[in-house]
Subunit: 164 residues, 2 copies
């Protein structure tokens, strides 16, 4: 059974073990595949409003997401999130659970909408997950992502209004 809770300082080593291969694969996030630990920490934790981890009963980090304002003041009612699941924990619905959790947190923090800015078009598992969670593909950015093996591929913008 997984618990999703706020990131704590002692989670970082396990979280870095999770993030490193995700970024190294270079097919979902735009960060350099050889990103340093410090830079990853800055990108995932320090420059974000809040970060969360999904842990098992041994406190092993199996997933994580962050939440932040997508724009300054007059666009700050729209949040942006990024999610990552460890290779070992994939296919168990953890992305879905973290997405649900993030929407509840976003509402609690006062956000009205959630926006994903760069969903790589080849990342069909993520796209299906977000669509099942009520996100719409509101935009397509031709060639906006440089994939390590496929070259320039499209990226999608996905969006959901959290309040009606």
């Amino acid at each position: 059974m997984h618990t999703i809770r706020s990131f704590r300082e002692h989670d970082w080593p396990g979280l870095w073990d999770l993030l490193r291969p995700v970024f190294a694969a270079g097919d979902t996030y735009p960060y350099s595949p050889t990103i340093s630990e410090d830079e990853a920490r800055r990108e995932w934790i320090d420059t974000k409003r809040a970060a969360y981890v999904a842990v098992d009963s041994s406190e092993r980090v199996l997933g994580s997401y962050y939440i932040k304002d997508n724009q300054p003041t007059l666009g700050a009612h729209v949040c942006n999130c990024g999610y990552a699941v460890s290779e070992a924990a994939r296919g168990q619905g953890l992305g879905t659970r973290m997405c649900e959790h993030s929407q509840a947190e976003a509402r609690r923090l006062g956000y009205r909408c959630m926006q994903y800015n760069l969903v790589v078009a080849t990342n069909t598992v993520a796209i299906k997950t977000w669509e099942n969670q009520g996100f719409a593909i509101t935009g397509t950015l031709p060639g906006a992502f440089r994939h390590p093996t496929l070259g320039y591929v499209d990226a999608l913008i996905m969006y959901k209004q959290l309040e009606t």
Copy 2:
């Protein structure tokens, strides 16, 4: 006659005179309408890759734009620009000239695409200008901008591939 050239340190006072009412109006950029001079400087100059000004023969700042990577490494071939024209210089095609200039600069800097992330849907003059310059509306973000008089309005994502 206007000259468009790289921002120089002595341009800042005139540029701040230009930007301040643009941000104060609160209908085109998401920055706080009461943004401080330091914060404006940080947003328009210090955190960007390059900034430019359009000046008249007396070196008066009539317009400005910045250019930056829109995403890190694997999305860094897409740039983002922001433009502002002084109230006195509007309706003279300066937005168009700066947009043309920015595309040439973007190509020179090695960018393949240009993306505008938050074009306020009520800003019809800008939308028409960018469309005339070959930008497509690739996405609509419902209620993504908090307009000072109209409340939550849509924002558009506009995009152009600079190379074919």
